[in-house]
Amino acid sequence: ACARPLVSVYSDKGAASGNTITLPAVFKAPIRPDIVNFVHTNISKNHRQPYAVNRFAGEQTSAESWGTGRAVARIPRGVVVPIARDKQRSVNMCRGGRMYAPTKTWRRWHRRCNINQRRFAVCSALAASALPALVMSKGKCHKIDQTPEIPLVVEDKVQQFKKTKEAVVLLKKLKAWDDIKKVMKSRRIRAGKGKLRNRRHTMKRGPCVIYDQDEGITKAFRNIPGITLISVDRLNLLKIAPGGHVGRFLIWTESALKRLDAIYGTWKKPSSEKTGYNLPMPKMTCTDLSKILQSSEVKSALRAPKGIARSSQKKNPLKNIRAMLKLNPAAASAKRSAILTQQRRIKEKAEKRAK
């Protein structure tokens, strides 16, 4: 709920085309990485394919236990050929036996998530993509140092690109090619069994291009490594916050960005495309913590800082004169008079003896 600046639209030559759009209110939504993470973990389970073990695996034997009284373990053994190996039910420990708790297809693979939470997550992810600090942060580290503006908006002409060559030129002009280069450099062999299962290579995620009308843009951009393409109508949390982490580099087309105010609404008016939906309200209106702590309102209510009392070693006043004087200022004079009287007495005694 703050002032909304103007975003410049860039032409396909990479220069500002002179058009500006007011930043849609979604980009000022509260950023809740916890909600994004929660929703992401749930939603990412929803495109899983079931796996299970054959339900007869390990059970297609007629093995029976020999019972007691034959000086062998009671484990089921083969009937036709009495090898200890042929195992039946209860015997996950035997070779060729059924596994413990065979996996079933009716495991609950999918998770549902509240629709409001899902929308909140998308708003948060979009808002985070408008903060260069988050997009560049270690987790995301998209290379956007040279890009002219975040959020990056391109003219609608881009939606009509047909050739990947054009797409590459555009990205280079927009200085987004560094991100692609980073993606290409990050191509490596996957760790784990996935590499034997037709998922041999992995690489980082690059920019995500969001369009309104697909007039060829998907075909132009899809072969560039790292690029994801989504339509504004179907903003996918899994694409704009991959891994459950906010701050993906998004490239918008002009009409896509213009649609956002209608899809999500502003705080002044509800969304027109989602029934009864309003942008989430932030918990704090001012999130600049240092500004709050140093404000005069807070400062005037605080007491003066107390000096930290650090205990030093206690000095024994009976041995340490300074410690004694600190506690008893008369100690010096008492000591002096004691010395003097002692000297006086010694003298008197000497004189007496001399007599």
Partner: protein, 244 residues
């Protein structure tokens, strides 16, 4: 035409900060001068009191001796006052203590072996000491004992914490309302069992003494039997010298 030079613009917040800082500094300087003056007055007062106490102690001692001599010359006897101050040391440990004794020792704040406290002697406390007799060694401390204990091992109970007495302010903050503002005042109050003895003794955390250099004789026997526990009157001073 007068051309005025434009001062460089300083943000308002910075100006505000500077002004606040100056005001604070000024206030601090003033407060420092005042406190310095007060401290000097206090030092003078403490000095006078300390000297006065020296006189007082000497007078008390010589008085006792003088009265005794006087009585003897008249073939009479001088019976000095029964002692009102005792120093009590716990000489046995924690285990296997009977409940009554345990409670008495708790009330006397002797929760640990070789802990020592100053106790005012009256009918009530004497009976308590009698109950706890096998666990304590006690007697009548002299001035040197009191002084040395308070100076070397004196810790005050400040805000429920055990704080070493390194400064007269520690004493003044707690006992100032009783007129005790320095160590010498505290010692005087304890030794002469003044009107605020209770507050002064309660301020002092129980003294944590070392094991006696030269050892005990026999902790499980009474002093009169050749052991250590119970009332050993003046000989407590020797014991404290060994334990302090």
């Amino acid at each position: 035409m007068v051309t005025s030079k434009k001062l460089p613009r300083v943000p308002e917040s910075l100006l505000k900060k500077r002004k606040e800082y100056q005001a604070q500094k000024a206030k601090q300087a003033q407060a420092a001068i005042l406190s310095k003056k007060k401290n000097r007055e206090k030092r003078k007062l403490i000095f006078k009191r300390a000297e006065q106490y020296v006189k007082e102690y000497r007078m008390k001692e010589r008085d006792g001796i003088r009265l005794a001599r006087q009585a003897r010359t008249h073939n009479n006897y001088y019976v000095p006052d029964e002692p009102t101050l005792a120093f009590v040391i716990r000489i046995r440990g924690i285990n296997q203590v009977s409940p009554k004794v345990r409670k008495v020792l708790q009330l006397l704040r002797l929760r640990q072996i070789h802990n020592g406290v100053f106790i005012k002697l009256n009918k009530a406390t004497l009976q308590m000491l009698r109950i706890a007799e096998p666990y304590i060694a006690w007697g009548y401390p002299n001035l040197k004992t009191v002084r040395e204990l308070v100076y070397k091992r004196g810790h005050g109970r400040v805000n429920k914490s055990r704080i070493p007495i390194t400064d007269n302010n520690i004493i003044e903050n707690t006992l100032g309302k009783h007129g005790i503002i320095c160590v010498e005042d505290l010692i005087h109050e304890i030794f002469t069992v003044g009107p605020h003895f209770r507050a002064a003794a309660a301020f002092l955390w129980p003294f944590k003494l070392s094991s006696p250099r030269g050892g005990f004789l026999k902790v499980t026997n009474h002093y009169v039997e050749g052991g250590d526990c119970g009332n050993r009157e003046d000989k407590i001073n020797n014991l404290v010298r060994q334990m302090n």
